[in-house]
């Protein structure tokens, strides 16, 4: 039966950003409808690496990351479960003196943001983290950063939003979207559903560029596919989440013992699909073998461990790898929050809160000017 829902706010995309926005807006008393093409948290938000990290972000992201840090600290109150979130610390390693200099410069640059970074010499690194191999010559530790299980956390935001009164409709790809005199009208043929609302939040991840394009706005969003793998459960050996200056590999060990690590890129799946944004992604052999070698170099003890699975996902990237957050400058009532470029899991909860600010009061408590889509014009 054909349905029409008139809402205050329509959200497209049930990832961690859309779910968080729905949660905060529903709590603020707004009538919210969220349309998710598949299941909430089933794409990039649910299959990412699970790093909950502020260290390494550009300074303009840090106010957002700090706001999110506080939200992560009260996760069970927010979403009703802990999502395996732990503040393990995040250790960024330098593999050369030049890389160490980059870490030192970063620590100086963000000194005022309260990350509590500790620079570690090679000696201190060996003492604190003896499992790290000789490739690392030093590092920078952010003790309060950590990691969580994205498969659990991201769907839980939408579930919490439902509990707070939001209407979440899954299996509802947007077939049509148009501007009307009073806002927006969205149609999902799959659900035989029409939604009207004066406000539209574009939280559609890799599909956000296509959504904006249908409303006549161009966002420079492209899809890419981070590659990750996991070992069988191992005895506890790594108490901290690991990154490397210059990239290449990152890793964390979860409580049950599996070592989850990533680096490099997968490929669209199915390979022959010709949609501009693929439905799924899968690992690529060369990148996977390269990732295994990098992990074995960084953690010599891992050489004998086996990986039991690898995977990839469909994530939205922007040209400068900084997100697009804020009101559209061409279409009133439209807000974008997308293009997190592989680093949106930690900031996701706060981005949802920012979107709620923007809807409720017209402005964000947290500075977001740097993330306007206008920077690409």
């Amino acid at each position: 039966m054909s349905r029409l829902i008139e809402a205050d706010v329509a959200i497209v995309g049930g990832g961690i950003v859309g779910g968080s926005a729905a949660l905060f807006l529903a709590r603020a008393g707004k009538k919210v409808v969220l349309l998710e093409r598949d299941r909430c948290g089933s794409r990039a938000s649910g299959v990412n690496y699970g790093g909950v990290r502020r260290q390494g972000r550009a300074p303009q992201q840090l106010p957002l990351a700090q706001r999110s840090h506080a939200l992560w600290g009260q996760l069970p109150d927010l979403i009703g479960e802990d999502g395996e979130y732990v503040r393990s610390g995040h250790l960024k390693l330098a593999r050369s003196p030049q890389d160490m200099a980059v870490l030192e410069a970063y620590a100086a640059q963000v000194a005022d943001y309260g990350l509590g970074l500790q620079l570690l010499s090679a000696h201190e690194l060996r003492q604190m983290f003896p499992m790290i191999g000789d490739k690392a010559v030093g590092g920078s530790l952010c003790p309060e950063d950590g990691h969580a299980n994205p498969r659990l956390v991201s769907p839980a935001f939408s579930r919490a939003a439902t509990a707070a009164g939001a209407t979440i409709i899954e299996g509802a790809p947007v077939s049509e979207v148009e501007q009307t005199s009073s806002g927006f009208r969205l149609r999902s043929v799959a659900q035989d559903l029409t939604v009207t609302a004066p406000v539209l939040l574009n939280c559609a991840g890799a599909w956000s560029g296509a959504l904006a394009a249908r409303l006549g706005e161009t966002l420079p969003i492209s899809a890419a596919h981070p590659l990750m793998a996991v070992t069988e459960p191992l005895p506890a050996f790594l108490p901290v989440s690991i990154g490397v200056e210059g990239g290449g590999v990152y890793g964390r060990q979860v409580t049950r013992g599996n070592f989850i690590f990533g680096g490099g890129r997968g490929i669209p799946h199915p390979v022959s699909g010709n949609a501009p944004v693929p439905d799924f992604a899968r690992p690529e052999r060369g990148a996977l073998v390269n990732l295994l070698q990098q992990a074995a170099e960084l953690f010599p003890d891992l050489a004998g461990a086996t990986i039991i699975r690898s995977w990839s996902g469909v994530e939205a990237y922007t040209p400068d790898h900084e997100p697009i957050i804020g009101p559209s400058s061409t279409i009133p009532g439209l807000f974008h929050a997308c293009g997190f470029s592989g680093a949106g899991f930690q900031t996701g909860p706060a981005v949802g809160a920012v979107l709620a600010d923007l809807v409720m009061s017209g402005q964000s408590v947290t500075p977001i000017a740097a993330f306007s889509a206008d920077r690409f014009r």
Partner: protein, 461 residues
């Protein structure tokens, strides 16, 4: 179509893969035959490790000794033609190439034509106590006997359903073990009902009847229409509790228990290659689509043997040869049409037999899903219980197995659902009150079996 410049690749050196490779070689091609095991034969004709103290073929394979020997020796005449690579795991298929692991080295092998002959593993329905020491799958119990030359116990019980139950009981009894009971969940009446179909292969049926009669003659208790209750024991299994067909609780002491409900095809590689799949209600499983010759939905990709649907070892030999002939024909070679007719006729009989067999020995899925208790571990890798799955269903209403996997971890462990997948599917379908084909199938992820982080890449084309 001209002959492909790359040699055809056959995955699996069981009856299907060996017949396929030999057929290709006989027609002048030089196939590559990849196999995970150190010696040819597959699981059904598995050989003990090479070395002293070899048992005779008739000791190892009984009535099937001649077939087993023929399979083992089939490659030798073509040793210069067939590039046979044992101890080689195919861990990935991607964009027209395979990734192989052998001796800690990984290599990529491009293909233009490929025959999947990947075989099968046991289908498991967990019961309380199934993770205890002394409890094995039926296939595992048989491998112990064939490859390791030892049994799973000295007083053993075999429980589940399917013809393998009777064969293994016979093999154990012949090997000197005390078979305390054969416990079949299928009612005897089903065998009578599907007798016409079973008569499609009178010789095979006769063998089955022989095993049954032999068991009876030697006083091995056989019960049909039973319901498993639990396996009990402290350090290891000491007894099996079960309900007879009249609903009375029974207790059978043992020190080894083999459980199995038929076989499930190993389809992950075909899935990863992109073959189209359809649900087969008889197997209660998703099988790769194929025509009567074994052509998959992908050009140049063929399927043979139990890896494409459980039909047994004799059918695997026929299917392997038939798929190889299809490959040859598709590459423009001349093949003998009368041979094709013979193979297709034989295959049709196997299919009729298989259909009757699966109906005579059905998976007791509905009753299992209805009664499985919350504390029963379904996934040994990740220690996921039936209760965990039910809680996930209540919380999130996952409509497919991949969502259930993401939220509960079932199928995320080292077997990627090869062991727990059937049980998870039955339980999820039951919880939703829908058919088991309405909840999709677990997407396999590379590597299909674990590979070491310390693998060394080898730069082969």
């Amino acid at each position: 179509m001209s002959q492909s410049p790359l040699p055809p690749v056959v995955i699996g050196a069981g009856p299907a893969g060996i017949r396929a490779a030999v057929t290709l070689a006989r027609h002048g091609l030089s196939p590559i035959l990849l196999d995970e095991s150190p010696r040819p034969g597959g699981q059904i004709y598995r050989q003990p490790p090479a070395g002293p103290g070899q048992r005779s073929a008739s000791e190892l394979y009984g009535f099937e000794a001649a077939k087993a020997t023929a399979i083992h020796q089939a490659l030798a005449p073509y040793a210069d033609r067939i590039d046979y690579r044992p101890d080689t795991l195919v861990w990935n298929v991607e964009r027209g190439a395979l990734d192989l692991l052998s001796n800690g080295r990984t290599a990529t092998l491009a293909y233009h034509s490929l025959i999947f002959a990947t075989g099968a593993t046991d289908r498991v329905l967990p019961m309380p106590g199934w993770t205890m020491p002394g409890v094995f799958t039926l296939g595992g119990a048989q491998i112990a006997l064939k490859a390791q030359g030892c049994g799973i116990g000295s007083t053993v019980v075999f429980l589940g359903t399917g013809p393998l139950l009777y064969l293994i009981a016979y093999q154990y009894a012949k090997a000197g073990a005390t078979v305390a009971a054969v416990l079949d969940t299928s009612a005897f009446g089903l065998r009578i009902k599907h007798l016409p179909g079973l008569l499609a292969l009178p010789k095979v049926l006769a063998k089955g009847l022989y095993y049954t009669a032999w068991l009876k003659a030697y006083g091995v208790p056989v019960y049909t229409g039973i319901t498993p209750v639990r396996a009990e024991g402290n350090e290891r299994v000491a007894s099996v509790i079960w309900q007879d067909s009249a609903g009375r609780q029974q207790h059978t002491a043992c020190d080894g228990l083999g459980i199995g409900y038929g076989l499930r095809p190993e389809t992950q590689l075909a899935d990863m290659a992109g073959c189209a799949f359809s649900f087969n209600p008889l197997d209660r499983a998703w099988l790769p689509d194929r025509d009567s010759a074994g052509r998959s939905s992908l050009a140049g990709v063929y399927l043979a043997g139990d890896g494409a649907g459980i039909t047994g070892a004799d059918a695997a030999e026929v299917g392997g040869e038939r798929a190889a002939l299809a490959l040859l024909q598709d590459q423009g070679a001349t093949i003998d049409p009368s041979r094709v007719a013979v193979l297709e006729k034989r295959m049709a009989a196997f299919v009729r037999f298989r259909t009757a067999l699966l109906q005579a020995f059905p998976l007791p899925a509905a009753r299992w899903a209805e009664t499985v208790s919350d504390d029963l571990v379904l996934c040994r890798c990740e220690e996921i219980t039936a209760g965990d799955l039910r809680a996930t269903v209540r919380k999130d209403q996952p409509r497919d197995l991949n969502r259930l996997k993401a939220l509960s971890r079932i199928g995320m462990g080292r077997c990627q659902g090869r062991m727990c997948g059937a049980a998870a599917a039955e339980l999820l379908a039951h919880q939703h009150g829908c058919a088991v084909n309405d909840i999709a199938r677990i997407r396999p992820q590379t590597p299909i079996k674990p590979i070491p982080i310390g693998v060394t890449p080898e730069n082969t084309p």
